[in-house]
Amino acid sequence: MRYIILITLILFTISCSLDRTNPLDPLVSGTNAPNEVTNITIVTTENNTIIISWNSVNTVDGYYIYRSQSYDGLYELITPEGIDSSVSTYEDDGVTIPGNFYWYKMSAYILIDGKILEGYRSEPKTWN
């Protein structure tokens, strides 16, 4: 009997969960997060800039681009204002090449009640 009370009490307490209160949580808003950005292509130009292009993702409000100097390093958001969803290329002129190597990640975002919900970030990409 003692063990039954103990097990019931433990099961009862561990069955309690925290409420999902983030309005951007898909389980709260009922809106799915944007799909991952695909087909990301990166090329360098003669002007020592980098051009990134990608396939447009449907029903998104914009894109973010992140940059790092190593594959698994810290990725810095280089487009904090976001890139308009109608655009599918971006020229990064804040780089110093040759001599440095850069990796990029991309994500798409949507707006839910004026707040940004960012989708999954892509795998790191660089030029060949």
Partner: protein, 192 residues
Amino acid sequence: MNKYLIVFILFLSTSLFSEKFNIEEFSNPAKYNWENMEDRCKARDDLDSRQKLLQIYKLNKQQIIRNMIKSAFAPGWGHYSSHDYTKGHAFIASEIVLFGTSYYFYNQAMDDYHNYEDSHYIGDIKQLYLDANSNYKYSQLFFSLGAVVWMYTIYDSISATQEYNQNLWNDLSKKLHSQRVLITPTSITVRF
């Protein structure tokens, strides 16, 4: 009128059939193995000492309910009162560990939960919620265990108090019987 008559008859019949109190048999010293006056005095001294023992016991014994309240207020306190220091240490230490761990996980859960609430990246939203919930459940689990141990502490203080009282009685009895010379304000008793 009949009622009073019946009551009167019943009263008479009870006195007729009741056993007569035999004062001589009651006061017969041989009944108590008292051969002489010395035996009587010994018996009286023994009774006195037992009464004193009982008084000392009553003064020093622990009340179960009081120790239960102490344990309910602070786990282990009831055991400390019953001089069961090992259990008292064990209970208070386990409560500190269990509630401390619960508090640690609760803090971790709340940190993750606040980050979840502020997050706008889907990866963080999903991961932080899972982390927060997992830590919250650990916190609840340790809290429940702490509560169970606390309840057990209250329950165990009953047996600890009973044991203390039993030991107290045994010690007092032992002291009384090992005392060869007993000095009281009215007499000196020497045991051989």
